[in-house]
Symmetry: C2
Subunit: 203 residues, 2 copies
């Protein structure tokens, strides 16, 4: 028998709901014998290409609600969360570092991704700064100089661009966006539908 196809998990490191789902998705998939392929992408690129927008902008009633909902949804899921003082942030450095690491050691890349998300959404660190990304990597025993050099290479930059293109080609329009056997699930709040889909093979 062939193993079931992996689940694709598209996210931006600056996406709070992406963080919430990142804390859950591997365990949920594993309960159903599935692996997850993580794909950090840049929401700015996705929004530009699709015309989609963030859940709320500016100082509106909806924007205040969404900020409150990030926090409440984290409590609901039992995930630690402290609202970052700078938000959103550009995430090129973190995403490029992820793909370079993934080429060396997938499991280490996964630990790095979790560490980046927690640095931003728990410890309020400025993950847009390449120095912060290198510090996070070094804390996991990754060669800081080798990563710093890799972040400058055309190959690593092209890989992130290719992933954003692949996301758009797959129909991704936001973060988090999960695709299971061609079925799309947008938002951390689709976790319960994802669980039933995996358990039932559709509903």
């Amino acid at each position: 028998m062939n193993a079931p196809a992996p689940i694709d998990f598209w996210f931006d490191f600056s996406s709070p709901y992406g963080y919430l789902l990142a804390e859950q998705i591997d365990a949920v998939a594993a309960q159903h014998g599935r692996q997850v392929r993580w794909h950090p992408i840049l929401l700015g690129v996705i929004f530009q290409a699709t015309g989609s927008r963030p859940p709320a902008e500016g100082d509106s009633a909806k924007a205040r609600y969404v900020a409150h909902d990030f926090h409440r949804s984290a409590r609901f899921l039992g995930v630690p969360y402290n609202p970052p003082s700078r938000f959103p942030l550009p995430t090129q450095a973190a995403a490029r570092a992820y793909y370079w690491l993934h080429g060396q050691d997938c499991a280490l890349a996964r630990r790095f991704a979790h560490a980046v998300y927690r640095a931003f959404f728990v410890d309020d660190r400025d993950i847009s700064a390449p120095e912060t990304v290198l510090d996070i990597a070094a804390g996991l025993g990754i060669d800081r100089a080798a990563l710093a050099a890799a972040l400058q290479t055309p190959e690593v930059k092209a890989r992130l661009k290719d992933e954003c293109d692949a996301a758009l080609a797959a129909g991704v329009f936001g973060s988090p966006h999960v695709i299971i056997d061609g079925e799309h699930f947008f938002g951390a709040d689709r976790l319960s539908q994802i669980e039933r889909w995996l358990a039932s093979g559709g509903f």
Copy 2:
């Protein structure tokens, strides 16, 4: 002891996620000894005043996803759903009829609201037409001529306007929007958070 305050449920009769929550909210509230006050409003007025927008517009990847998600979320919740052929629709007549009925008989108004939602999202009827609204009401034994006359009165028109103003004053920016003791929940997918909030008095 005082009874706990009722829950406020704001919705537009043209909102699919409003329909999904309408099929659940009374039972969930009742399990926790709560009543629900239903408030049909006009999303056009809310969007105009708040700058909020519908979940997706036009023929984008997100719009196609949202249409698919309406249907899948209905199956997930066990609610019958057939995508209406005309969508969205203006809902002044249905909302005004609701408020007039509510002044006569709250329970009948609730049955009427369910019937309007099902007429639109199950039977694909054009609920924007006053004649359809009158037909739905007549099917529940409501005096058709009295309702037809009521829909033309300044009092009924003013009541709907007042409800939209009250929604805006309360911070409502979309549909469905639930407020429990000052806590806001936006979207049918917040039902599980609503349930935990009612069970725990917050989390």
